[in-house]
Symmetry: C2
Subunit: 212 residues, 2 copies
Amino acid sequence: MAYLPEALTELIHRLSRLPGIGPRAAERLALALIERDPTEVSALALALTDAVARVGHCPQCGCLSQDGADCRVCADATRERGLICVVESPLDSVALEKGGGFHGLYHVLGGAISPLAGVLPEDLSIAALLERVAGGEVRELILATNASPEGEATALYIRQELDELRERRLARGAEAITLRVTRLARGLPSGSQLDYADAATLQSALDNRTEL
Amino acid sequence: MAYLPEALTELIHRLSRLPGIGPRAAERLALALIERDPTEVSALALALTDAVARVGHCPQCGCLSQDGADCRVCADATRERGLICVVESPLDSVALEKGGGFHGLYHVLGGAISPLAGVLPEDLSIAALLERVAGGEVRELILATNASPEGEATALYIRQELDELRERRLARGAEAITLRVTRLARGLPSGSQLDYADAATLQSALDNRTEL
């Protein structure tokens, strides 16, 4: 891009590293940006640095929060404290919140167990989850990990850890925990066509068929 | 987006105002950005403000240039000084430079005549173009305005102004200017299919047919 000023080439290079933005889109974006009102571009630059500096993870659940405070879900007194949805990443909770149908709290694991990628159970916030459960207030845990092999393995691992926790408590005569452990339903995505569904999805839709 | 931290909502809002980025893409982008290495995001923010502050227009031709200097084309001693390509915007010269087949200089008009949009001939850098021509060094002017009604009108207007300039010089006995005025060819775009071409394009392809 020798025909462009260096500062512009640098901007295009930076933009093209963003997810979903290829070199062509980055160029179009950069050229449009420099023709814009400079105050608007400064506001964008400020919003960028501000968001990166201020947005972090909620100390309670690991969801996105600002300035180290509790996230909006944990801070909301109307949410059901006994219902915890366990997700892999903060983005999963964002997706669930968009639906608006979940009224409990979250617990972000920070990934899924994947020995090949070097992610072991101790790399995830599973110990913190067990602690929350041991507190006794939790009555249902929805294991909403991804429907991938890693997500499945993580859900199964947590299920086993919970069983062991229960046994340890029984062994030392502590009060038994009554806890429901569920996972998200498997089946056809809403609005999808049968002939586009893959075999595994169709099989789980069959296995989990419900009364009409 | 009450489920997101405010700093993130602000970033999404700013991103969604960029051309070609809708609200969904802005959200995906913002969520990806805050999970990134903060130094990379700071570099992007810096590149943004840097580009807006430093990239401007070449004092010679109006193309994109840096720190108020001449653009790379004008500064290139190997370019043909007698050949000037007249374009509406700096982005048009970027498109032409990508091809790499043009070896002259540029002249950016800053738009096209459009009385409805309130753009009059005096709003464009036509006077500066006539001055460059009056200098006597220019031997060909390629009027590369857009193939739109406004672009056509602008090219015709410049053609008339050049004729008047010639007459005025003749009237006061000055040396005659020998100047070729051309425009870009009209025809089928490369790689296009005949049955997808519109009627006006097909007609000009017929009118301007060449010997094989």
